[in-house]
Symmetry: C2
Subunit: 258 residues, 2 copies
């Protein structure tokens, strides 16, 4: 039995991810800023009631994410944001869950999506198999069945699955894996926009248009439909969209293997 050590503070003992979560939260809240040192191992052990081994595992997770660096015999220092491994799914998950005011990274990720997702839609329209269409269609039907619900959780989940399924339909390993990385960000953007959007039916129509284009093997139409979907999201989040300079010829793409 413990003498009510951690009672006053948070519920920090049961889950494996909770300690890392809490540290991340404090870092993103600005309590520990880049260059600062977080508490020592033994101090965390005493404060959290976890074994040193467990604490070291959690800190190791932060190291893997490039969030802190551990200096032997000295301490654990928070690294600059630019050093964080943004493409680590765990990191994007942390950021999307705890980075309320940290909009910069969100905007950069949205910028990235606005650049690539039209192309992903094109590739999906060229390469999607019947099985891919099933996944896309199931996600869409989930969106349609729940797009007027009070609780948007179901709809948001299907919305994310819809986008991820399109990444998968490219049948390219890199794009498929990127969907894992972007999934938390997509979820955040989707949940934001779906709570603020004025006309959920309009968004649903855009998704339907995109799905049909992929089904009918119309890459050109898929390209523009994807832009329409994203413009909707960007508008709901008040993010600027500016056109890029224009290449006079067409881009190339390597053939898909197998």
């Amino acid at each position: 039995m413990f003498p009510s050590d951690t009672a006053a503070t948070e519920t920090c003992m049961n889950d494996t991810a909770s300690l890392a979560d809490q540290l991340i939260k404090e870092i993103l809240d600005g309590r520990y800023q880049p260059g600062d040192f977080i508490p020592k191992e033994l101090e965390i052990c005493r404060h959290s009631g976890l074994s040193r081994n467990a604490v070291r595992r959690h800190l190791g997770a932060l190291v893997n994410g490039g969030i802190i660096e551990r200096i032997s015999g000295y301490g654990s220092r928070v690294r600059e944001f630019s050093q964080w491994h943004i493409l680590d799914p765990a990191v994007t998950d942390w950021i999307t869950r705890f980075a309320g005011p940290h909009l910069e990274i969100q905007r950069e990720i949205l910028s990235f999506r606005l650049t690539v997702e039209p192309w992903v839609a094109m590739m999906a329209a060229s390469s999607a198999t019947a099985r891919d269409l099933v996944a896309i269609e199931e996600a869409f039907e989930g969106m349609r069945d729940h797009h007027l619900d009070e609780d948007t959780a179901q709809h948001d989940h299907c919305d994310v699955s819809f986008h991820v399924a399109i990444y998968y339909a490219t049948h390219n390993i890199v794009w498929s894996q990127l969907s894992h990385v972007l999934r938390p960000s997509i979820h955040l953007l989707v949940s934001h926009s779906n709570t603020r959007t004025l006309d959920p039916t309009h968004s649903l129509q855009n998704h339907h248009r995109l799905m049909d284009a992929i089904r009918m093997r119309q890459p050109d139409e898929a390209y523009h439909a994807a832009i329409a979907v994203l413009e909707d999201t960007a508008r709901a989040l008040n993010v600027d969209i500016t056109p890029m300079p224009t290449p006079t010829h067409l881009p190339l793409n390597a053939s898909h293997v197998s």
Copy 2:
């Protein structure tokens, strides 16, 4: 920098990466195939002479890469290739170092690069600062000074730095981080093509053209120059390039947030 950047130096005696390296090598060689079980912890301890904690850390690295899954009380099973975390720099590093016959993943990554790098070049031409140009130029000069050397190591290193510097010049977090992921693959492709290419001077001219386009803020020219560079590489590696269907309008891109 990513922690795995220094892992490329393969002094694999008692280095921390050696055990994981060896396991990966055996997996990629087909000795342990997806679904198979690798030896037990204690067996590895006896065989390698390392402590159980160290062995567990190495196995944990493989788990982080999605390469194996550990079943409590049963064993460690190799996962399907599609489950591997291709966007983990450590994983790409392993694959590029040990996956001799495994060309599929290499091709998929090259396919990805062929799709995105022209766009990256465009963005770099729009956003590159003077400091970015310094990095690009230094890399190019290194290529020029060593492009006739017997040992291509120096030239290859600068070639990789050249491409990475362009990713950085986009000033978008996601693209910058992607360069870390792609770095090992770029290095492999570069070293292959540079040993097989017939006319190294021609490749150098293409790089020069790309650099100038970025410097002169000519996104259109940068786009085509990047294609020329990649076509060179693809041709040297006998990889097909097929054009994509063509959108009738132009893609969009979100504004960069400082």
